[in-house]
């Protein structure tokens, strides 16, 4: 239960960080399906915005995605990024 709640909180917060990095309206990103592609047309993350996003994730959660995920597999969708961050939070 706690894990589920924690994951939901991480997802909510990540949506807000994604909106900030991609210069999108937070309310819009909050409503997107969890499997929305980060690099797809709805979010349109750029490489520069991606650097900002991973920087804020590291600051907020202490999870350095760049160091932990060489091929950046976690940067697929809102859901995959949430899974990655949530699972590395639990190992702390």
């Amino acid at each position: 239960m706690t894990d589920t709640r924690e994951r939901a909180a991480v997802e909510r917060e990540l949506r807000s960080l994604i909106a900030g990095a991609a210069r999108l309206d937070e309310a819009v990103v909050a409503e997107l399906p969890a499997d929305t592609d980060l690099f797809g047309p709805r979010i349109g993350l750029t490489s520069l915005a991606g650097v900002t996003l991973l920087g804020t994730i590291d600051q907020r959660y202490g999870v350095d995605v760049a160091a932990l995920d060489l091929s950046l597999d976690s940067l697929q969708s809102i859901a995959t990024l949430t899974d990655f961050v949530a699972s590395h939070l639990q190992s702390h």
């Binding site: 210069r23 690099f39 750029t46 490489s47 991606g50 650097v51 991973l54 060489l70 091929s71 940067l75």
Partner: protein, 377 residues
């Protein structure tokens, strides 16, 4: 031992000059008139020599901001400097702002200042920044002596100024960011490098870090570019403010095959090095160049596209760009079976790849991308 020993000239993109006691003898705010003090001829000559080698100059002076207005009144002096900072704030803070305004790392700055206090303040708060006294400037110049002077290097200061104008326009522009980007009328052309473009491509290999995929050395790049089955591609960019010249280079190795090689192997385009200038960062040019290369690979009949990646502390942006382009880890390993050109992964690098079937990612709508067919026969 010289102060410039262990000095890597390729790491220096901008020299930041103090004013009073460094650029000129006097203290500007203490002068009786509103005239600007006369700069030391040797300092101006040094700035011009650095500019010829592609090194920018800026100003960090702890003085009244009105000194900057007096500087503006002397265009032949003012024109030598980008993003000048004249205020009472700490020099470390001025250097941070200069780096931010120019879009370069603060570690790419060198401070020249006659005040040991100011040098120490910067060294304490910005440990990656080198500082020099004015008498060390000849040694600084000597460190750059071996560097090739390319047309691109000479144009760099002018280009950064164009960029400053563009940014000032951006601050005034009323409308969305995307409308502004469209209004800029950015045009990217991609084509095989001509002979006169090669020095700039080598320079990009040496000088880029954030958007450099593998760190392939300029010597190795030159050697591979002229060997069988290899082609060097460049990207040039212009916008309504001017011409940015060559902003990207990619080496393409067409000697590789999918493993295991199929009888009707459609071929692979392998990219041992992709390097892009940060000068046009944040405008989609890097993605557009990479995506256009993938389209050209497909048009040339290739079935797969690969890029060698060596992750560093600096090139996360390149890693994300490759991920954005759909490139994922392959099992290609060190040495590679074919060719033996040493372009495949080694212990600290990986080969990323993707199929060229199906949809390829598209460039941002505001960028006009076209092929350049002016390559030499």
């Amino acid at each position: 031992m010289s102060v410039t020993d262990r000095f890597d000239p390729d790491g220096v993109k901008c020299v930041v000059w103090d004013l009073d006691g460094t650029l000129w003898d006097e203290i500007a705010v203490e002068s009786a008139t509103d005239d600007l003090p006369t700069p030391r001829p040797a300092a101006l000559a040094a700035i011009d020599e650095l500019a010829a080698r592609g090194v920018l100059s800026s100003i960090a002076s702890r003085s009244a901001p009105s000194v900057l207005d007096r500087l503006d009144a002397v265009p032949e002096v003012r024109a030598r400097f980008l993003a000048p900072q004249v205020s009472w704030q700490d020099k470390s803070e001025s250097l941070r702002r200069i780096a931010k305004d120019l879009g370069i790392a603060v570690e790419a700055l060198v401070l020249v200042d006659d005040s040991p206090y100011e040098r120490a303040e910067v060294e304490a708060l910005l440990p990656g920044v080198r500082t020099l006294a004015p008498e060390d400037v000849p040694a600084l110049l000597a460190a750059f002596e071996g560097r090739e002077v390319t047309a691109e290097s000479r144009e760099r200061v002018r280009r950064y100024r164009t960029e400053e104008t563009r940014r000032a326009e951006g601050e005034r522009f009323e409308g969305s960011r995307e409308e502004f980007l469209r209004w800029c009328d950015m045009r990217l052309t991609v084509g095989a490098a001509t002979a006169d473009e090669i020095p700039r491509a080598l320079e990009l290999a040496a000088r880029t870090h954030r958007l450099n995929s593998s760190g392939l050395t300029p010597d190795r790049l030159r050697e591979l570019a002229s060997s069988d089955g290899h082609e060097l591609y460049t990207a040039r960019m212009t916008d309504r403010f001017g011409d940015y010249g060559i902003i990207g280079a990619a080496l393409v190795d067409r000697t590789r095959r999918t493993r295991p090689a199929a009888p009707a192997d459609p071929g692979v385009w392998s990219v041992p090095l992709l390097a892009l200038s940060c000068r046009v960062a944040g405008r989609g040019a890097a993605a557009a160049f990479l995506f256009r290369l993938m389209e050209r690979a497909r048009a040339a009949g290739a079935g797969e596209f690969r890029v060698t990646l060596r992750p560093t502390d600096a090139n996360l942006e390149m890693r994300i760009l490759l991920r954005q382009a759909g490139l994922r880890r392959t099992d290609e390993i060190a040495g590679g079976a074919a060719g033996g050109t040493g372009t495949a992964a080694t212990a600290d690098s990986a080969v990323l790849g993707r199929t060229l079937q199906g949809d390829l990612p598209g460039s941002p709508a505001w960028l006009h991308v076209s092929d350049r067919e002016d390559a030499e026969a």
